[in-house]
Amino acid sequence: MPQELVAADHITKSFGGVQALRDVSVTLHQGEIRCLVGENGSGKSTLIQIIAGALRPDSGTIAIGGKQFPHLEPIQAIHEGIQVIYQDFSLFPNLTVAENLALNTELERGVQLVSWRRVRRIAVEAMARLGRDIDLGQTVRELSVADKQLVAIAKALLQNAKVLILDEPTTALTHREVRTLFEVIPELKQRGLAILFVGHKLQEILEISDTITVLRNGQKVAESDASQFTPGDLVRHMTGRSLPDRPSERACEQWHQHPADDSSAGRGPPTRNYALGTPSRCHRADAVFKVTDLTDRDAFDSISLEVSSGEIVGITGLLGSGRTELARSLFGLEPADSGRIEISGQVIRMRSVQDAIRVGIAYVPEDRLTEGVFAEQSIERNLAISALPSFAGRAGWIRPASLRRAAGQSMTELRIQAPSARMPVANLSGGNQQKVVLGRWLATQAKILILNGPTVGIDVGAKSEVHEKIRELARQGMAVLLISDDLPELVELCRRILLMHRGRIVKELAGADCNEDTLAAELGRLE
């Protein structure tokens, strides 16, 4: 039996009357990869912080390496080898990789003077321990998210970590970067580290973990070997309810129901040949969004695509494939150099965001906190911001009453969970924030919706609600372009998926080919 490194026993914690954790016990053994799953607010992060000594439990005990700690302090946890890699990595973007790696060690030694030779030596050693190679002289700002994460892990190893806690490590990674991380984690396990992996994406969790602990509303609701769980089980445990079993089936039906002028619409998606640019007959009439030979010198080349009213078309590709740049240029953020954009047959001059909004394009960006919402502003203001003129009276003043009424209405419609419409968006969970972003565009009555990673970092329950909303928008006749890394999401929502690689659309999958295996295989081939 491997050594027990962490034992959190009957932990209870409440914050001002809210029970965050109720009688939760978790253990971690040497060489174990345990995954902690649960929706936002299920108590995952509270539990992590208690194990790291950052929070003190109301009752229950923490033992590390067999030693009991009645009042675990962060510094004690570190000394006992517990390292947490937070989602923000706690790195210094302005300093070099080498200095980032060495700073903690230097601080611990209590030296007053910096020896750059020693910094270098420490950094080289850290990279050797990780078995990866990153340019030590680069500033961290210049690194990709994945490399930043590796630096953070290397830093933790340097502190003689025995237990590595990763807080949602794959959220910001692309498909390929996740693969790299999933090579590193088992190596660490081989070396006898215990790993506590906090995750959202079910496939990844099932793939990487040995054991899984599911939390819901602060209680442990399931715990077992990973092999004992199916994705459906996990969802059921996490949400306490069963989500539709075969969502993709449902998506198809809905898609079929959309008003089509041709009976063949019911027989699977139309197939198109982009090289020839000839859309199939059945949908030509309601093809609302058409892009021809769109080119941007730095990002993408000769992109042609078409999205019909009521259709959800997926775009995926590796990082750097140009998909985000494409989305941004379609929304007028960085207008393309050449090419044509048509909406309902009319050529659009896309020079700015204002142009895009005027012709009815809505965009939900990748990073909703910095690009999507006004985090410190209230929910109602956020909902209204893109449609302000419609709340104005004759003189141009905003009428607060009508704004409030509309906001209340869309909050109910979108099932945004918040005590008040005046609450700042920053206080909402990721899922609810995303609903606000969606809701804002609903208010503008857009015809075309471009989504970029709409459910990144959102928990399973809210994710299915966001998906439902997207489907509903399509049903109402919106043309939806969905850019995503999340293969299950693409397969569930889209009947057509375009693969981008190095700025070009290299493949279109449609109908029966729209399944995860084919998609993963195609993506794999690109690498």
């Binding site: 790195l91 302005n94 300093l95 700073l103 030296v111 953020l333 700015s352 690009e371």
Partner: protein
């Protein structure tokens, strides 16, 4: 090589060289010893202020009270030396000015570290407070009869050379203050954990606290240091002008901050070097000084300074690929 091209210092040095060559061709007087010494003297006061501002900017803060601290320190020091019998050596004067500056700087630091107030707000407030206090309680008249020690100091040179026409030119001693301060600040920033902590807090404040840097103590150090440097700069200014004017050093704030930013320091924190700051100061001073040599009206100084700042920071921002992605600013 790529990294060299991305360094602001490289472009500044190049620009300084080109400028020097150009002006020298137009008016050979530029390369005369007298003019070069003059440039050094003009750089001293601005440079001392700039070193303090550099440290604040790296830490992610900003200080707009340094000019007020400088004026306060020099005027109070001159008054005190004239009233009390403390001897009249220049050393005493500088120590006293440094001490006055230190206490005013720590006053800022206390508000910032203990009450966690935004640095711009605190220093805007204290700048006004210091100036108001100075004029209301210390005096409003210009002191023209500076203490003997300060006068002697102003005539002191590091190195002198007789010119053929019988006059002598010398490198003023106060320039040494700038050099020593630059070396010291450079050492602290580059080679001490305190210095790296200042970079760290400018890069990621939360992570710096998590890593175990003592943020409050560092803030006290930073604003204290600005105070000391400003006090010394103020007194050096008074010596150079041969008078202590309580209305002096107004409007210097933006020029100094501009010189530091020109030198590659990031206004949002985490970046900046002493070398860059020194080059930035030299460049601004050279431009101001040389336009006169070229018979260009002094109003143009401001225009040219502004253009240089825009162009040079623009080049660096562009080459380091930090092009602001167009976020609906169109």
């Amino acid at each position: 090589m790529r990294r060299l091209l991305q360094r602001q210092e490289f472009w500044l040095a190049l620009l300084l060289l080109v400028l020097g060559t150009g002006i020298g061709l137009a008016n050979p007087a530029f390369w005369s010893l007298a003019n070069l010494f003059d440039l050094c003297q003009s750089s001293t006061v601005m440079g001392l202020f700039a070193l303090g501002v550099l440290v604040v900017l790296i830490s992610g803060g900003i200080d707009v009270s340094f000019a007020a601290i400088g004026a306060f320190s020099m005027y109070v020091t001159s008054k005190v030396l004239l009233t009390l019998d403390l001897g009249d050596s220049a050393t005493t004067a500088f120590l006293l000015a440094g001490a006055v500056g230190l206490s005013l700087g720590l006053f800022n630091g206390l508000f910032i570290a203990l009450f966690r107030l935004p640095t711009l707000i605190v220093t805007l407030g204290s700048a006004s407070l210091f100036r108001g206090f100075l004029l209301a309680f210390v005096g409003t008249t210009i002191v023209n009869n500076l203490p003997e020690g300060m006068i002697r100091f102003s005539k002191l040179t590091l190195w002198e050379r007789a010119l053929p026409d019988g006059t002598a030119v010398g490198l003023p001693f106060s320039f040494l203050l700038f050099v020593v301060a630059a070396l010291l600040v450079g050492f602290v920033l580059r080679r001490t954990m305190l210095g790296r902590g200042i970079y760290a807090m400018g890069g990621n404040l939360v992570a710096a606290a998590r890593a175990g840097f003592r943020i409050r103590r560092q803030q006290l150090f930073i604003y204290g240091l600005v105070g000391v440097l400003s006090g010394v700069a103020g007194l050096a200014h008074a010596c150079m002008m041969r008078n202590a004017n309580p209305f002096d050093l107004v409007g210097l704030e933006l020029n100094v901050i501009a010189a530091v930013v020109l030198g590659g320091a990031s206004i949002t924190g985490g970046r900046g070097t002493v070398l860059g700051t020194v080059l930035g100061v030299l460049l601004i001073v050279t431009i101001n000084n040389s336009l006169i040599l070229l018979d260009i009206p002094s109003y143009w100084q401001k225009v040219v300074t502004g253009l240089v700042i825009l162009a040079s920071t623009g080049i660096t921002a562009h080459t380091s690929g930090q092009r602001l992605r167009g976020v609906g600013l169109c």
